[in-house]
Symmetry: C4
């Protein structure tokens, strides 16, 4: 970059470049983290201990593990798609954006842990353990949605980081989706704690599906709105 | 991308770009998942518990683990080569292609689990456990082949996603190979369940070899056919 | 690279290129290592063994694990940001730089181990175990800071590896920060061993925060200094 | 690639491209595998089980684990540097090269397993276990060197895959180093089995060091030879 000019400003250019660099490394690093998290989930699919002849029974007994695996796989996949859609619109990154991104990755990396909590509670715990595990999963959902909210908010205020032709309105709209996520996971946790664990589990399973679909939906919606104008 | 034009269409261009982006991230993410899955397999190569002096015996006793490792390594390697050959022909990706790809990765990520099931059953289970484990491995083989079928079918219907000069005929041909995979793994599972576990294991070992070779074969075949025309 | 010239020097050019290549692979490899280390940390967030109904208590009991996780996540994140800031200024890499980089990665990879040591000691060990664990964590901090010192020193002496417009003064300044890190982690270890484990833990928690902030600070400082000139 | 020409040859061009593609994905995939293997090694650095107050003793007792970790880290690092030096000279890859590369990765992925074997045998096994573990490590060393031999041999015979200006002589020279590796690891294994485990361990520790240094040496040697001509 920056073919050596012979003015005293070169150092300045370089320092700028240090503060705001392209997003290639943030993307490569994030992709690796998402890939590891999505495959760490599979480590919870453990071969169950069983007496000879008891493998089928033991495998069927751990059905909550499979359901938790599918749910969390979907959740991580939707997060990756969101991440791709977001950074596709970003031209360069500064420290603030990096920290917001590291916040998202921090929260995503907690998913295998709370996923294991839920399947363990359903398999071996009592009703109280299930409430605890569902609440813990919901808390991570709230934290993750809040991290996205932070990221979107940051981008909506830093137009200078966006690709040419990308308006801050896109990230203002995404902010709403993230805020809805904070609310939805908080409600799911409350339902699990005070009302009904099975209902909360169904909500936690459906939320990633909803986000997967609504993501397409909001694209289309925005597109149609702009067509009309 | 898209140097800022001053028309109202810029936003539209950007939204399009969001719907159909280049495949770089899908490829980087998939490569990481394949790399993790292929090395997760090695985690099943555990140092066996043994009394002092008993390590050689214990190592030789777990021969099914080594065979399962080699088989699954080959299987993942062939899947990676397929993936490379496929995305080499893809110019850009939309949500549908991303979800099909995530379906392939989901199924590949299950291989270490069923590989561990098979080696555990052969090592410590009885005849019924072996039938269960072989059937489970075959089910994942069916699911994985079906995911490829979905991906190839999707690409054969979305020529606009392909590189210039790539015809949909390529993916129509690949669809046949994937459909054969669904059938072959279903048959292997059936043989393991109703007929003979050893025969099914040999088939499961040979299938990746066959796909590794037939993959080259279909390239050459297509090439020769086109030469003749 | 190097369009084929028809002189006998082409081979020479190629060998040069072998000795000093671009940094793309070093960056990709390092990003993968950082991503794995940062997610390996989460493997220590284990579902605690507990009797039915005892999950909440067991989860709260392992609070040192969560604190250790957050601390080490921050530490690895700061290291990644440092790494990005460093290699952003590097044009090409020779063997010496690769080995210095492998030294940094070697030390970073030790963080999950000593993190687990600390949380284990606080959870289940006695006062002596805690001193041992804190000292071990501090030793890895010293080794990691020393690896950075080596890397920065190497770069300050090999201007030919740097991007155009980057002066060796940048790496001379970073060298000071790394040397301070060696001292700070040595002091934290000494405090933990001879004075007070809780004080040492607080220092170990604050050090990454300080480095995260001072990193911005030193950028800004340098920038302002150059503005004035 | 290949802007759509309107002749019937386009399909042909594309099929060629499928058979011989650029090396970007092979490199990304290999970097991820190397990064995972080098960090999997750290998983063997386990927090030892110990009674309160016994952590220091337990940590010091597992010194063979640390030595094995350092040795294998060096070994993987040298392999990565070799891989980088090799693919730096490769312009495109065909199926044969991919399989040779997958053979190298297969062997590298076995290193954490045999490393754990050696440290386990030294820690808890008897003299016979040590001979078994050292022999197993040496066998993987032989297999890995043989995989490199295959890869170098393949490249020395397929000049069409090399970068412009790279002669096949480079890979003919590397072939010799790989063949020496086969011999050296076989001898180390033999020494460990029939003569002395400690001597074999020292040889296994020194071999990566020798390869790390000789790698530079052969570059320099080749360079000087070409200068003279």
């Amino acid at each position: 970059m920056a073919a050596g000019r012979d003015t005293g400003d070169v150092g300045e250019v370089e320092i700028e470049a240090g503060l705001r660099s392209d997003t290639a490394r943030a993307i490569g690093f994030s992709d690796a983290v998402f890939a590891i998290v999505i495959t760490l989930l599979v480590l919870d699919l453990r071969v169950p201990e069983s007496a000879p002849g008891g493998m089928l029974h033991a495998l069927l007994d751990q059905w909550p593990v499979y359901l938790a695996y599918v749910t969390s796989y979907l959740y991580v996949a939707v997060n990756w798609l969101n991440h791709k859609g977001t950074f596709h619109r970003v031209r360069c990154a500064d420290r603030g954006l990096h920290w917001a991104n590291l916040g998202v990755l921090f929260s995503v990396a907690l998913l295998p842990f709370v996923t294991a909590l839920v399947s363990r509670a359903v398999e071996k715990g009592d009703a109280f353990d299930e409430r605890v595990a569902v609440a813990a999963y919901a808390v991570v959902g709230v934290v993750l949605s809040a991290a996205w909210l932070w990221l979107y908010h940051y981008l909506s205020r830093h137009r200078e980081l966006l690709q040419a032709g990308v308006t801050s309105r896109f990230f203002e709209a995404e902010r709403i989706r993230a805020a809805l996520g904070v609310a939805a996971y908080a409600i799911a946790g409350g339902v699990g704690w005070w009302v009904s664990v099975p209902v909360a589990l169904v909500v936690l399973l459906l939320l990633p599906l909803f986000y997967g679909l609504s993501s397409n939906g909001s694209y289309d919606l925005l597109r149609r709105l702009r067509h009309r104008r």
